[in-house]
């Protein structure tokens, strides 16, 4: 591996991305570890290139390459590494994410690492995530990660938030439901579908007078993202007609009773 790592390092130093990519892919299972070995070069462009290759060739070793660069001396490299945390999807990387979290002090990076434990983590990470719910700066990410891992308490908390009287809290819960990717959560969208309060501005800068999506509009989009299909297309966040909202409500009302809270 050392020879391949040296060769890869030379290619990274030379900025030869194509050849480095070919070499990396030829290494098979060793590729990630070789990339990690080669990614600690002196020059920031070479380390940047290593991160690009890590993003294009996901593996546990690629994830370790990314996490190793979170503390890079160069701000651009750190920024790129921080934006690639989402590439760490393999269960093998859960301990690496935990280790990186222990080292990391920057709040946004900590939130991203905690959030990624909801994707790459498993039962072993649940105690840690429960402890992290007591740290205000990462509590939201920890609760969401727990819900993604199927933790019953986090799921109950998410369902309670779907019925929160505050429109923003309710919309946030809908957003988290999309991330959890559990279609059965739609069974608790009833209150949101009956909520006609403005919640999220649809229009961006320079797009004329602000138009808001209501909580009910966001709930229909969340259902579409969870895999439900309607008689009308749902691709964007937009203000829907009463009939369209009613169609979504009818779908939720028809969901099996055993999926409902306190059923």
């Amino acid at each position: 591996m050392q020879e391949a790592a040296n060769q890869l390092k030379l290619l990274l130093m030379a900025g030869n991305k194509d050849a480095a990519g070919v070499l990396l892919r030829s290494l098979g299972a060793q590729a990630g570890d070789t990339l990690l070995e080669a990614s600690g070069g002196q020059r920031a462009p070479a380390r940047t290139l290593a991160l690009e290759l890590a993003a294009e060739n996901p593996s546990p070793g690629s994830c370790r390459t990314i996490l190793a660069r979170l503390s890079d001396s160069n701000a651009s490299v750190r920024s790129l590494a921080g934006n690639l945390i989402g590439q760490c999807r393999d269960r093998q990387n859960a301990p690496d994410l935990t280790h990186a979290l222990e080292q990391e002090k920057e709040p946004a990076t900590r939130r991203a690492l905690v959030g990624q434990l909801g994707v790459a983590g498993g039962p072993d990470q649940i105690p840690l995530l429960r402890r992290l719910t007591r740290q205000p700066s990462v509590a939201g990410a920890a609760w969401l990660a727990l819900a993604q891992l199927g933790d019953a308490q986090a799921r109950r908390q998410l369902i309670e938030r779907l019925q929160d009287p505050d429109a923003q809290a309710r919309t946030g819960a809908l957003r988290d439901s999309i991330a959890v990717r559990d279609a059965q959560l739609a069974a608790w969208f009833g209150p949101a579908l009956a909520d006609w309060r403005d919640a999220v501005p649809i229009t961006g800068p320079h797009e004329g007078p602000t138009v808001y999506a209501r909580v009910c509009d966001f709930a229909v989009l969340a259902m579409a993202q969870l895999g439900y299909r309607f008689s009308f297309p749902v691709e964007f966040l937009e203000r829907l007609s009463l009939e369209q909202i009613e169609e979504a409500r009818a779908m939720v009302d028809a969901m099996p009773r055993e999926m409902r809270p306190n059923a």
Binding site: E52, A75, N83, I178, R181, G204, P205, G208, T210, V234
Partner: protein
């Protein structure tokens, strides 16, 4: 004749010296526009004075110095509180000339940080009568992928491309890349460098990609095609150049990662998260002249400057004024607001009665490029420098699959 002759009746704040941009006209990275919006800063309680931004390793940043309430015969010295961070290179000994206004130059070191350039009266260690704070920013490259959408629903680019003749793809690629030179002149002092990769990606979007046969397509349809574009990069900001927008007067528009996540839109709808793409991206209309200021403004939106998530007219822009009660009155249009990059119009509205507002140092009826640094609780639109650098440097905030 005394050096200070102003008559002070009761409580009055006196500024004996002031600082401003060292040139007029187009923005230039060596001539940043000092933030003199407020002389207090909630984030730095002990600082009272204007502040200017510079990137690490800047070889010659110029600022204009003005004697406001001090005579031209007074000996004044400029002294850096941290010469390792900010060193005055002209005048090298710090002694200012007797001119009422004059430019001075400083160079910055290799590390980021903050220093003050103090104006000392009569001796280099005499009383301090004014300060300019200098925030030295470490460079963060924001990586761009430029896409030339050669046809949109069968419509090609015109012979005039971004305001110039560019009839073949190579010339168009050059014009696209060149546009960012002007953008970087605005953003570099804040430590933000927009870095294109070595090539431009060509693509074509048909009605199926757009989800509509309507031309020009609505912004949402462009967002759909951009999210689903096969050459889309997950490690860069994707910038798509298309011939026409539904709004023919809009130069460009952008959606940040934060905002794309906020609105929950991702394509393909309902697909597993690992195969979805959100709609964080930038669009430029090529049938309008190249306008680096407007694109820099849109990239400001990409970096979530100014108040976000609110309602018009104060959302997103420097005109926000949440202290005025009526919604339709929540607009500021003073000369400072017009100097800011996030002023909401491409061209200023002419003012017949307040003509001094028509030129804020960048040309007649041209918006400025200042990005605010100070933070004041009473103005949610300020502290843009910090917000931009947070957006550029924070995890999971700049690029997305």
């Amino acid at each position: 004749m005394p050096d200070f002759t102003a008559l002070v009746w009761g409580g009055e704040r006196i500024y004996m010296v002031a600082f401003s941009r060292a040139k007029n006209g187009d923005a230039h990275m060596d001539f940043p526009d000092p933030d003199d919006i407020g002389f207090t800063d909630d984030a730095h309680n002990d600082e009272h004075g204007p502040i200017v931004n510079a990137i690490t390793g800047a070889a010659g940043t110029q600022v204009r110095f003005h004697r406001m309430e001090i005579s031209t015969s007074a000996k004044l010295y400029l002294v850096s509180t941290n010469p390792g961070l900010v060193r005055i290179s002209n005048p090298a000994d710090g002694l200012l000339t007797n001119a009422r206004s004059q430019n001075f130059t400083f160079v910055t070191g290799k590390s980021g940080g903050r220093a003050a350039l103090e104006v000392h009266y009569n001796w280099p260690d005499g009383p301090v009568i004014g300060r300019l704070y200098v925030q030295v920013n470490e460079r963060i490259n924001i990586r761009l992928r430029l896409h030339l959408v050669t046809t949109v629903a069968g419509h090609a680019h015109g012979a005039t491309f971004l305001g110039g003749a560019a009839a073949n793809p190579a010339d168009r690629h050059k014009a696209m890349t060149r546009l960012f030179n002007g953008v970087n002149h605005i953003w570099v002092p804040f430590g933000v460098f927009f870095q294109s990769e070595g090539r431009v990606f060509d693509t074509a979007w048909d009605a199926a990609a757009l989800g509509t046969a309507t031309y020009p397509p609505a912004n949402n349809d462009l967002h759909r095609a951009g999210a689903l574009e096969p050459n889309r990069s997950s490690t860069r900001v994707n910038v798509y150049f298309v011939p026409d927008f539904a709004d023919p007067s809009t130069v460009a528009f952008a959606r940040s990662v934060h905002r794309a996540r906020l609105i929950g839109v991702a394509f393909p709808v309902g697909a597993p998260a690992a195969s979805q793409h959100i709609t964080n991206q930038v669009f430029v209309q090529t049938n309008l002249p190249a306008n680096a200021d407007a694109l820099a403004h849109e990239l400001g939106h990409y970096l979530d400057l100014c108040a976000i998530d609110g309602a018009a007219p104060w959302a997103f822009h420097s005109t926000a004024d949440t202290k005025i009660a009526g919604n339709d009155q929540k607009i500021r249009d003073d000369s400072v607001t017009r100097r800011r990059l996030l002023y909401p119009l491409d061209a200023l509205g002419a003012m017949a009665a307040k003509t001094w507002r028509n030129d804020v140092g960048y040309g007649n009826l041209v918006v400025g490029t200042m990005i605010s640094a100070r933070q004041l609780a009473q103005d949610v639109s300020l502290a843009e420098t910090g917000r931009a650098r947070t957006a550029a440097g924070a995890a999971a905030n700049l690029y997305a699959p």
